[in-house]
Amino acid sequence: MITATTPTIDLTASLSAVLAMKKHSQQCHVNRISALDDPCLRRLYYMRAAWDKARPVDDGLQGIFETGTILEPVIGRIVSEAGMAASPRWRIVGSQTPTSDALLKQYQISGSIDGFLQVETAPGAWLTLGVVDVKTMSGNIWPRVKTYDDLARYPWTRKYRGQVMLYALAHNVEMCYLLLVNKQNLYQIRLLAFPLDLAYCEGLLTKAKAINDAIVAGEAPDGIDDPDVCPKCQFYSFCAPDITTGGNLIVSDNEELEAVLERLDELSPAATEYGELEDLRDKMLVEGQDVACGRFLVTWKELTVSRKAAEASTSTQWRKKIVATPRQD
């Protein structure tokens, strides 16, 4: 029985204390492979020249990092079992092998790969296909990252491309693999394969050189000054970038527009009910089955619709969102 004297358990505070012990800022003397595909040169510079000025990682993000660390061996076991159950068998070997490539050293680039993907070509004979990096993703993100192009969707997944490509360059292999794991269901794993793109790598090497030069000069290079990116950066306050917020809001004196919006708002409850009733009606009707009900007659006609195959295209659309505040009169 809980009484007035029962001590309360502050779970949030205790978890926060656990995470606090795991937060470390580490000095970084090299360009980390995992970060180099960052579009902001200034951030990459600060990661080396002002690593101790980074805003502390919040508990939410630290928790995600820790979850990934805890899941690593579990995923390793699942992947190992899956590889052995496959035909031909496959496996990941050489976990956390540090890069020791002379070219990358020249550009002060360093990192450790998750492993090499190998396939069994004959009993006991394994062929290395390429480098592989294991990435865990939330259950919301995982279904959306199915192709190489999908990696461009999120700022953090963008960096995966350059990361594995530089690993491939360092280990002199031509294929890059990303093993994408759904954190919500560790048995949902997707293997993304793409070839090493030397032009892409050259861009990363150029970026590394620019950072190295800036370190020598002691002068931060230009940043991206992006109002969507900068406020989330761990160096935001230290960098204090010149940015312009992206909105364009104006206060409109268009009374006609206001009247239209007002009327739409008034009709909105009826529109909602109308839609709900349509859904209900369609659930109760059977396709192709004509019905006479009260004063209504519902008949069906079968239509065949043929559409020409269309080329995939990308277009820009604007989606409006209208929020109405309560009337104050």
Binding site: A13, S16, A17, A20, D52, K53, A54, R55, P56, V57, D58, D59, G60, P227, P231, Q234, Y236, S237, F238, A240, P241, D242, I243, T244, T245, G246, G247, N248, L249, V251, S252, D253, V323, T325, P326, Q328
Partner: protein, 295 residues
């Protein structure tokens, strides 16, 4: 104490440091003002809409009948507009008080929207309670993550610029309650701040804390023991300065700003150090014996 990057220090009207630099061309401004006057009721309605949709009651702090919007709330509002932040600068000031050494970060920036431009400041110190005080005592400076102090000062600066640009400062409490209650939000969730036994340090224009005042007096007594006139002379030697309109004579320590008196305290600390004086130890020895005490 848990520290996360989304620190939201308590902000009050005393931390709202900003001034308008440019209102634009006078003729254009006049035309705009006339138009604004004509549209004032609609403008108010639009601003209410923006505040109601972009801020929460918890973003606001009430002080002396006026509402202060937190920088987090201000930054949320700013996302709707095209505001340029530029010429941003930061510096760190170190100070001493009876608690020990501390520091504050002061950010300055210019922000512009259309023709209107403002200059804003934001300051945050290790003597601000949100990060600097825990378990009933001031935290040692080394236990406070300096990046959080810097970050808080920066966000306050950005927030002040936004509030000055958009006219979101000093909204009367009654109007705020009407706006929020009308939108179905609970205005009672806004925090209330009482002045008086506030934090030490803080903003550059905040009145000096009682601890700092006491520290200055202790140092003066230690350096000029049993010599009130000498103490006063030393105080004015350190606190007075030559201003644009002649010599500025400092008022009593209680009436000086935190920044001003902090400077005096720093000089006194240095003098004590140079003379090998521990002000608190010496001052304790100078106190008259308590009635009934032994020895």
């Amino acid at each position: 104490m848990s520290e996360t990057f989304d620190i939201e220090p308590v902000e009050t009207s005393s931390t709202e440091l900003a001034r308008v630099m440019n209102e634009g061309d006078p003729d254009v401004s006049l035309a705009i003002l006339e138009k604004k006057a004509e549209l004032a009721p609609r403008m108010n309605k639009a601003i209410n809409t923006i505040l109601v949709t972009q801020t929460y009651a918890e973003d606001w702090t009430e002080q002396g009948g006026k509402m202060c919007l937190s920088s987090a709330g201000a930054e949320r509002v700013a996302r709707l507009f095209s505001i340029r932040f530029h010429d941003q600068k930061a510096h760190k000031e170190e100070f001493s008080d009876t608690t020990g050494r501390g520091y504050r970060y002061i950010y300055e920036c210019n922000a512009s929207m259309g023709d209107r431009e403002v200059f804003a400041q934001g300051a945050y110190s290790t003597r601000d309670k949100f990060l600097g005080f825990a378990g009933g005592e001031w935290r040692p400076t080394e236990d406070i993550n300096e990046n959080n102090i810097r970050n808080a000062a920066y966000h306050i600066c950005i927030g002040n610029a936004i509030k000055a640009l958009l006219g979101l400062r000093g909204i009367p409490s009654a109007r705020f309650r009407d706006i929020m209650a009308g939108a179905g939000q609970d205005p009672g969730k806004a925090a209330s701040v009482k002045r008086g036994n506030g934090t030490q340090g803080g903003t550059a224009k905040a009145k000096a804390s009682s601890n700092l005042v006491e520290h200055v007096k202790v140092c003066l007594r230690a350096l000029r023991p049993q010599d009130p006139a000498g103490q006063a002379a030393l105080y004015h030697e350190l606190a007075d300065f030559d201003g644009d309109k002649g010599r500025v004579v400092a008022k009593a320590p209680e009436y000086l700003s935190e920044k001003w008196l902090g400077g005096v305290a720093g000089k006194l600390d240095k003098m004590c150090d140079e003379n090998g004086i521990d002000p608190r130890a010496v001052d304790a020895g100078n106190q008259p014996d308590e009635p009934g005490s032994e020895g």
